[in-house]
């Protein structure tokens, strides 16, 4: 069997995706990416799936659209199928009917009628499941950075900082799922990026413990790649469609601040915009500093 190829360059993703060939521009596809990944995160939560299953669903869905076009496959349906499939893949299966039910509720803000149409949709899920698996060449074993990140943080970060660094890094892992990073880099490289961002956010200067070798070397990543991952992750927070409605009020102010190159400043701004956990931690940090 030919070795599957699951990683692409950023340029390939931007210029040559199947959706692009069907006439969809990059910005639209990016919006779709953000929509279906957020939708999957919500759907997974409603279904009480562990984060690992949600992450698997998101990666399956993203990979699907590197081989199939959004113009020919309704991303809402594909995402629903990916959630159903990911539950089985990760050993936390939920019946197709439940997945569809919550999917419908999230998408249309009302409960579906359990009628013939619903049954037809269910049949579509089962056929679509085969479409997804065949498209992916049955590569269903998806690795995630979570464990790697936690192991490293446990091992290398001082006990008093462990919790907040760990939490911050895991939040970054989750947020990276909304970018196309999982199509460009492997789990250990993404893990390194998440740790780097977590450490910077918590203002911890990590000193290499192993001679003069940088700590990220063990993740098989170069400094250039690390920067690329961090940049793409942080970009996520300035795309205007990402900003939640409630936060729009202070977007522009923070976007201004964002153009300043400092990583900490950008992080500060994104905390305000998005992540309550991080925000809280940052405030704590600041009050300590004062």
């Amino acid at each position: 069997m030919a070795e599957p190829r699951w990683y692409y360059t950023r340029e390939e993703i931007e210029k040559n995706s199947p959706s692009r060939l069907d006439g969809m521009n990059f910005k639209d596809e990016t919006i779709h990416r953000w929509c279906y990944t957020s939708f999957l995160q919500d759907l997974g939560h409603r279904l009480n799936h562990p984060q690992k299953s949600i992450a698997t669903a998101i990666v399956l869905c993203q990979r699907f659209f590197t081989r199939q076009s959004i113009a020919k496959n309704d991303p809402r349906m594909v995402a629903t199928i990916c959630m159903f499939l990911a539950g089985k893949v990760e050993g936390s299966p939920r019946p197709a009917g439940d997945v569809l039910f919550f999917s419908h509720r999230l998408l249309f803000n009302k409960d579906p009628l359990i009628d013939a149409k619903f049954e037809r949709l269910k049949a579509t899920v089962f056929t679509g499941e085969k479409l997804v698996m065949a498209t992916l060449g049955f590569d269903l074993d998806i690795e995630h950075p979570y464990k790697l990140v936690m192991d490293w943080v446990k091992r290398c970060v001082k006990a008093e900082d462990f919790r907040r660094v760990g939490q911050a890094a895991l939040n970054f892992v989750n947020n990276m799922l909304r970018t196309s990073l999982c199509l460009q880099f492997g789990p250990s490289q993404l893990g390194a990026g998440a740790i780097y961002l977590g450490l910077s956010l918590c203002k911890i200067k990590y000193l290499p413990c192993d001679g003069d070798k940088a700590w990220w070397v063990e993740f098989g990543i170069s400094k250039r790649q690390l920067k690329e991952i961090c940049d793409q992750t942080l970009d996520l927070y300035v795309q205007d469609f990402v900003v939640p409605a409630g936060a729009r009020g202070f977007t522009s102010r923070h976007l201004l601040c964002y153009t300043a190159a400092s990583c900490t400043q950008r992080l500060y701004c994104l905390c305000q915009l998005l992540d309550h956990t991080l925000q809280f931690q940052l405030l704590q940090l600041e009050s300590k500093n004062q």
Partner: protein, 512 residues
Amino acid sequence: MVMADLGKLNVEEPPPIWGSRSVDCFEKLEQIGEGTYGQVYMAKEIKTGEIVALKKIRMDNEREGFPITAIREIKILKKLHHENVIQLKEIVTSPGRDRDDQGKPDNNKYKGGIYMVFDYMDHDLTGLADRPGLRFTVPQIKCYMKQLLTGLHYCHVNQVLHRDIKGSNLLIDNEGNLKLADFGLARSFSHDHAGNLTNRVITLWYRPPELLLGATKYGPAIDMWSVGCIFAELLHAKPILPGKNEHEQLNKIFELCGSPDENIWPGVSKMPWYNNFKPARPLKRRVREFFRHFDRHALELLEKMLVLDPSQRISAKDALDAEYFWTDPLPCDPKSLPTYESSHEFQTKKKRQQQRQNEEAAKRQKLQHPQQQHSRLPPLQHGGQSHAAPHWPAGPNHPNNNALPQVPAGPSHHFYGNGKPRGPPAPNRYPPSGNQSGGYNQNRGGYSSGSYPPQGRGAPYVAGPRRPSGGGAYGVGPPNYTQGGQYGGSGSSGRGQNPMGGNRNQQYGWQQ
């Protein structure tokens, strides 16, 4: 913005490049197996001419789409690459029908089946062992055991528990290579946080005491118990612990290995079902006594495998270092093993027909003399079919068995066997045994001491009961109307029921 309509999927085009190929790349030659899991075909890849096995994933009973067991199996097989583990070469899809039920064109390319493509293997260990006239040599047994342990060690290192080690899941090719197959019950585990796992795994006769006592946290040791059972079976020439149900299985284990207590197995009294099953009086360990005819090193190794306390049971790695494998006669090179006539290719339809007639005849006979059911049956049968596995009521008495569809003629395993019944093997197909009628297995006395001459040490191969003429090597015994396992007809009946066999279709009911 261009976007597909609600619910629309691109099902009218075949999978894109890099996706799965179509089953049309293969030419099906012959069906070689049929079980609860699905059909298995021998096939030829058209482009290369390579012979492979195609295992169709059965979907028709699925209420929740693609079976979770198959997903698990695919995930695990894709990670394992070892000469003693069956290689999943690829997965192919069949496009399905061109027209729907009303005869309208149906271009949906995803309504057909899904097939796993494996290396073609000629035999399985049980089938081979059951061949009339075939006796394994000691170097051959060592060679198979070594390969089994090597493959299993590889799985365990990769954090995979097989959970269904038994002879019919050990496939052997004509170059003497043994490969672990059927990972349908396999599972990944991690050392640091062992979650709750189901204890309804492993075919009853090979199921370790901790599972029978209700353990839900367990590890590689469970597979090693099964290996111990197979090892003893190879040397002893018949299954050593053929329990009818869970309770009897535990009793047989205790009769052989002694009853557990806190001294030899710390924590045993806290096992969930310990109080239901603990024997009335303490029993002594009698492994050495039962298998005193084994050679010293073999017995030494077996003793370490059949240890009640899983934490003290030998690991695959340590077993490979056992004296047994490093003393004369050494394990032979697989290449030096004799090749056997393939279990699949040379069976003619005529033979099958003949065999069906024999079955019919036997059935009629049995209906007339139902009470003879016990005294007439051959001593030892493995795998094969319901009617070929009459003498100990098939299968554990497991509630799940009720869900088992009645498959009249399944192969001896879920992967691919010859799907045809095997004749009753001679009592003494293995190296000499002098303990056929002894001790704990006396419940089978009806068979072993009735119709057959007692086997002396070193006795030459003695043919079993007269097989129905014309059936040749594939004659069958009377049909199986045994008590205890009304679904004895399915796949692995002759060897005790695969506990989850009938439940594979029901994904959402059990612990993972």
